[in-house]
Amino acid sequence: MHPRKRIAPYLLGSPAGLWLTLFFLVPLVTLLSLSLQTCDPLTLACRLTWHWQEFSASIADYHAQFVRSLLYAGSATAIDIVVSFPLAYWIAFRARRKSVFLLMLLLPFFVSFVIRTLLWQFILSDQGIVLGTLKAVRLLPENFHVLATGAAVVAGIAYNYLPFTVLPLFVALDRVDRRVVEAAHDLYATRAVAFVRVILPLAIPGLFAATLLTFVPAMGDFVNAAILGGTSNTMIGNIIQTQFLVFSDYPSGSALSALLMSFMLVGVLLYSRLLRSATIQEYL
């Protein structure tokens, strides 16, 4: 090969590669090292002391928030998949002008994430549009409330990340070769059988990407819990944010982040084994 051709990919890739190494990989290592340091509470000067206790202390103190995050993010992801699948199926198989509907799904992204969550706070508030009306016609008792419950947080997360679930599912379903489905019908498969035995298996990679793209941001989210969840439904994201930005307890925050990160990696690996799929890149 021509020597210039051999270095070309490195030249092309180096700006992005360097940026990602310096500002993504190196900080991840810093995070791990910071979690093993002890910091002076006054000067905030930190030394590496191989202080592993931070990890056990984090698990002991905040396992409730970990479990809660798992529960909230898991339920929101499950709801999103159940809601998205028929929608993605309809756009892929039935709709004319698919691009129009896909772009409509993206419209919420033109409104800031924080504003969207605030709007849900208004919608769900005790005397708001929904509850206020239902209470006025006596369909709900006066003291009924949704805000500051886990349900409100799950609803907010499910709303905010729904488009991330629909799009990969759509891409996967849209790619299903129609001739294969017709072949199934020719071989006397009913619509239901063709769906379960042909379409569904072919949509598995999209399901994997959809779950990942929804669950990952949901797991680290703290905006929904802070705005919709009140004080007793905090998620692990709220704790990490408070440790870093309020208490400046970097070792503890770093240990929690490292735990979250390793948990996600193990989860993603297991899930990819389970579904026998590991591609997310093609489905974005």
Binding site: L103, M104, V111, S112, V223
Partner: protein, 283 residues
């Protein structure tokens, strides 16, 4: 009515139910996605006679004075323009770097290619809060002051991954090297080849990647909250105002950003429909 007729009506009814269930459900979901946005637009016209006006959902009369005084809230306007500047700069830089990397990944086989692909997946599989926390630790360790620069570094970092993947997906079907060779066989200089062959091929992907980076940057909250220090972006400013009350101008600016997006999407749809028609006419 005899038995066979009855079952035929029933069958027809069932078929009709099947025919409508899915589109109705789809419309309901899309409607549900758009409900909060409609509220924001409507309530950006809601009057308020409080001393320090904040958004409430009691209708107090129609007004356009929040639009007339859109820049009257101290702190909000600078935060808004900072977000715009940051998003523009991020999308230009991330698109440039991401496109180059995508071209390298599509066109060449080289050592380390799989490693780069895995890093890109890792960026996407990392919760934003971990991105923010690790960058904050990194900046503190190196004593880099937090502000516009650190925000820019963070936004370019996560945008690169998305841009690269988007551009790459658009390029995957084309044999760029083959087209370039053909151009050179026909006597084009490398310069002409780049402008007339390579760039037109990669441009749609670049545009999509750039828009994605812009959207990611202008809306980013979690990562930004870690690396911003005392600098306020538009979402960070709103977050800070939640406890004291949101001034109506937030809805006005939100509506204006949404309007820009709508114009963009509308143009896109119109172009798409025209392409469809042309294709049909050719057939």
């Amino acid at each position: 009515m005899n038995a066979s007729e009855a079952s035929a009506t029933q069958g027809r009814r069932r078929r009709r139910w099947r025919y409508y269930a899915l589109p109705v459900f789809a419309a309901a979901v899309i409607g549900y996605l758009l409900v909060p946005i409609a509220l924001m637009v409507v309530y950006s016209f809601n009057d308020s006679n409080a001393n320090l006006p904040t958004v409430t959902f009691n209708w107090q009369g129609f007004t356009t004075r929040w639009y007339a005084g859109w820049d009257q809230v101290p702190g909000l306007t600078p935060a808004f323009f900072l977000s715009l500047r940051l998003a523009l700069l991020t999308s230009v830089v991330a698109t440039a770097m991401g496109t180059l990397l995508a071209v390298a990944l599509v066109r060449y086989r080289f050592r380390g290619k799989r490693g780069i692909e895995q890093v890109l997946t890792l960026v996407i599989a990392t919760p934003e809060i971990v991105l923010g926390a690790s960058l904050l630790g990194f900046f503190i360790t190196l004593a880099i002051p937090k502000g516009f620069l650190t925000l820019f570094i963070a936004h370019v970092m996560f945008s690169i991954a998305y841009v690269t993947i988007t551009v790459r997906a658009r390029l995957a079907g084309f044999d760029i090297a083959g087209f370039e060779e053909a151009a050179q066989d026909l006597g084009a200089t490398p310069w002409v080849t780049f402008w007339k062959v390579t760039l037109p091929l990669i441009f749609p992907g670049m545009l999509a990647g750039g828009l994605l980076a812009f959207a990611l940057s202008i809306d980013d909250f979690v990562t930004s909250s870690f690396v911003a220090g005392t600098t306020s972006t538009f979402p960070l400013w709103i977050w800070g105002a939640v406890k004291v009350g949101i001034p109506p101008q937030v809805f006005v600016l939100g509506t204006m950003i949404f309007g820009l997006g709508l114009i963009f999407v509308g143009t896109n749809i119109a172009l798409e429909l025209r392409k469809d028609e042309r294709r049909r006419a050719l057939r």
